[in-house]
Symmetry: C2
Subunit: 114 residues, 2 copies
């Protein structure tokens, strides 16, 4: 298993963020993570309600989110804890994450569209 790559804050590219969140499944995962606060595991986030994401696809979604700089993943025993990098990100790209979550209507604490 290769070590997990996380870009430094200054290496994060807005295109990568937009790309990562342009996929509704990834966005749903990210929004859940942003809402949940605590570090969600992969399998805990696999169920989208209308469909269960295959685990190889899930793993890839997390990789895209991680390598774009949106989340931090850390192995904890047998599972993986994931958390958003929202605070850092807001420093580098002010308002971006919030505006995206608002656009999708999934900003934590707002009436949800799902």
């Amino acid at each position: 298993m290769r070590p997990l790559f996380h870009p430094a804050l200054e290496d994060i590219k807005p295109e990568a963020i937009l790309y990562a969140l342009s996929d509704p499944e990834r966005l749903a995962i990210f929004a859940k993570l942003a809402g949940a606060g605590g570090g969600g595991t992969c399998s805990a986030l696999a169920d989208l309600g209308d469909r269960v994401i295959p685990k190889s696809s899930l793993s890839n979604h997390f990789k895209v989110l991680r390598e774009s700089g949106l989340i931090r993943s850390e192995r904890q025993g047998v599972e993986m804890r994931n958390q958003t990098r929202c605070t850092e990100l807001d420093e580098r790209f002010p308002g971006l994450i919030r505006a995206i979550l608002t656009a999708y209507g999934q900003l934590p604490g707002q009436p949800k569209a799902d």
Copy 2:
């Protein structure tokens, strides 16, 4: 030549916007259009400095931007005038476009977005 399709404001999907702007060439084109104010033509936006985009690719980029709701295109004689739909978009997705352009404008070596 098929008539140009522009989605109604309420039909614009955030994932389509993020997808359209997740491509660095399209983002550069959109940023130039947003900065220029006036309606830029396709060929006027083809030169990215480091590379000239082939015109079939350019045409496709404009189609993606148009059908995602980011720009409006209108034939004017032999050429095509393109303008952003920023004002409308800000109503539907407050702060989104500005946050993206700001984020993009912060990359080293990029022209400042506004």
